[in-house]
């Protein structure tokens, strides 16, 4: 309520502490909020429901579905889950399996484990070595998508690429990265690209551990692995959960592999974000593309809810 506009005429001697003064009256506050709220409603809340509506229609960019889209019920979903084609290359089920491997190996194994290792490796160390490695990792993380994708296309090139030259010099033989093992290629790329985030998050988590905890273990002669497993990991549990959920969400939704492989060859790297793009913006089949988009958002929502419930349980355990 607007305290200035409606002063309370009665004296209030029974309140010992002065009431916290309202700095911004409610009405002015809502005015401040309104423009951002309009944007958030139009570009985040509305699309969530709109994608659901479009997924039940045959909406397209051209043809009859553009001018007069019909309600087609669950037809789009039925097509996605059609048992005959579900797992065929370029179909939804196959794309989901590829995405699951991509997320599991590049985010959960690659980024999180490597990030934790780097944070632990440089824990309680300072100096130029740490600065250099961290700066390089951050560089990989902040350089624009199209540039790193271009660099990686060259890096993985079969004949001239840097990686095969190094392997050749070490007598390990060349690998046809982009055509022979394309999924492995984008997994390596995404690990390289995103490790900095986990590294920084875990570094700041390790920084918050009281040194006395580890000094006791040092006195008792624990080795590095025992300290990590028995002392550090339990203490940074919340950070680990935060990290895993965020990198899973980002990796699940990333479109950047498209810039390296285009989803190919033969759909072998077509993660769901690329599949959605192909259906919706190459074939302009908005209805079917929205059905995939809807499922993606529901999967995202499930991750977010799991995350919230884990955080809440941990807060409950902490108090």
């Amino acid at each position: 309520m607007d305290a200035a506009a409606r002063p309370d005429p009665r004296p209030a001697p029974e309140t010992p502490l002065p009431e916290r003064r309202t700095i911004l009256p409610l009405r002015t506050g809502l005015m401040f909020l309104a423009p951002a709220a309009v944007f958030i409603f139009a570009f985040i809340i509305l699309p969530f429901f709109w994608v659901a509506v479009v997924s039940f229609t045959n909406r397209s960019l051209t043809g009859p579905g553009a001018l007069h889209p019909h309600f087609v019920g669950l037809k789009n979903y039925a097509q996605l889950f059609a048992p005959g084609t579900f797992l065929q290359p370029g179909q939804f089920g196959s794309s989901l399996l590829i995405t699951a491997q991509f997320v599991f190996f590049s985010a959960l194994i690659g980024q999180a484990v490597l990030g934790l290792f780097l944070a632990w490796f440089f824990y309680r160390r300072e100096g130029w070595v740490k600065q250099t490695v961290q700066t390089l990792a951050i560089g990989a993380w902040i350089i624009p998508d199209v540039v790193v994708a271009f660099a990686w296309s060259a890096f993985l090139d079969y004949r001239q690429g840097t990686l095969n030259h190094i392997l050749g010099a070490l007598h390990l033989g060349r690998v046809d990265w982009l055509l022979g093992v394309p999924l492995l290629s984008i997994i390596l790329f995404n690990t390289w690209r995103g490790t900095a985030f986990s590294m920084l998050l875990f570094s700041s988590a390790l920084g918050s551990i009281p040194p006395s905890h580890l000094e006791t273990a040092d006195v008792n002669g624990a080795n590095a692995w025992q300290k990590l497993r028995d002392i550090v990991l339990p203490l940074i549990r919340t950070h680990i959960v935060t990290d895993l959920i965020l990198i899973t969400l980002w990796t699940f939704n990333t479109f950047t592999p498209f810039l390296i492989t285009g989803g190919g060859p033969a759909f072998k790297t077509e993660v769901v974000s690329i599949l959605t793009y192909r259906i919706a913006f190459r074939y302009f089949n908005f209805g079917s593309g929205s059905a995939i988009g809807m499922i993606m958002m529901l999967i995202n929502l499930a991750f977010a809810l799991v995350y919230l419930s884990l955080l809440r349980r941990q807060q409950g355990a902490a108090t």
């Binding site: 139009a42 998508d145 998050l201 974000s273």
Partner: protein, 276 residues
């Protein structure tokens, strides 16, 4: 024996660190050398012969120059101004107006915005921009980026606004200032570092953003650098390495400079795990 162990563990530390430094640096080495090489191919080597002519050829390409020095800047600055202004107003209101549950609200919005994101949200966003008649306009790109980045920007700004002691504004109120005056004269100067961080973060995100302009724009004259980078092709359809790498370097430098600036001026900070 003790000394030997120390030497071995030191050596192991440097060796492991060197391996990781190489792992992160190697994919980019080629990109640093190729722009200065008159005969660059995909093979990594020191530039030979060394030249700056590749940059000259890039500047001779009107389409690419326009993308980098006009369109990318228009879209980046446009979204930057909108996001910074709206996020500051909203964060201030959430912090200072008598509204309940604002912590939950700003956190929930960030989470929700990471659910409605990427290609999954692009069909409704495309239809929305289409309905507004803004397909193939820079304004359409600016609006979509603004909407998508606002929740996280508000979250970052909250950090800064919440750290201002309320007593400043309370004394201004006692002196009879209106809410607007108080916001402009007292709050804004104090949260300026926060606005700088949000502005840089927004600009870098839009500058590097590929998918939104790729979908919403059609005509070459509107393309930002992230899309125009695919414009240096031979008649045979293969990229011209010298020009594309030179362009990539020009396009990357602002991001690195802004990162170093924020790092130097404000220090690296985590805002609830938001990518900066």
């Amino acid at each position: 024996m003790r000394l030997l162990g120390l030497v071995v563990s030191r050596a192991a530390f440097y060796a492991v660190a060197a391996v990781f430094a190489c792992l992160f640096a190697l994919p980019l080495v080629w990109l640093v050398f190729a722009p200065f090489d008159a005969r660059a191919n995909l093979f990594v080597r020191l530039p030979h012969p060394f030249t700056l002519a590749n940059f000259g050829k890039v500047f001779a390409n009107g389409f690419a120059v326009r993308a980098l020095f006009a369109n990318s800047i228009i879209q980046g600055v446009g979204a930057m101004l909108l996001v910074t202004l709206l996020a500051t107003l909203m964060a201030y209101a959430l912090s200072r107006a008598p509204i309940r549950g604002t912590d939950m609200l700003s956190y929930g919005l960030v989470l929700f915005s990471s659910i409605v994101t990427g290609t999954a949200a692009m069909v409704p966003l495309f239809l929305l921009i289409y309905a507004m008649g803004l397909i193939d306009t820079q304004l359409g790109v600016i609006l979509v980026f603004t909407g998508g980045l606002l929740p996280a920007a508000v979250f970052i700004m909250r950090d800064f606004v919440d750290s201002i002691p309320r007593s400043y504004e309370e004394s201004a109120l006692v002196a009879g200032a209106s809410p607007w005056r108080m916001f402009l004269d007292i709050a804004l100067p104090i949260v300026r570092p926060g606005m700088m961080v949000v502005a840089v973060w927004t600009f870098v995100n839009v500058w590097g953003g590929f998918f939104v302009p790729f979908i919403l724009l059609r005509s070459p004259t509107n393309m930002p650098a992230s899309v125009a980078i695919y414009s240096f092709y031979t008649e045979g359809g293969t990229p011209i390495i010298t020009l594309t790498t030179a362009y990539s370097l020009l396009y990357t430098i602002p991001v690195l400079v802004l990162y170093l600036f924020v790092n130097w001026r404000y220090g690296f900070r985590f805002f609830g795990g938001i990518k900066s």
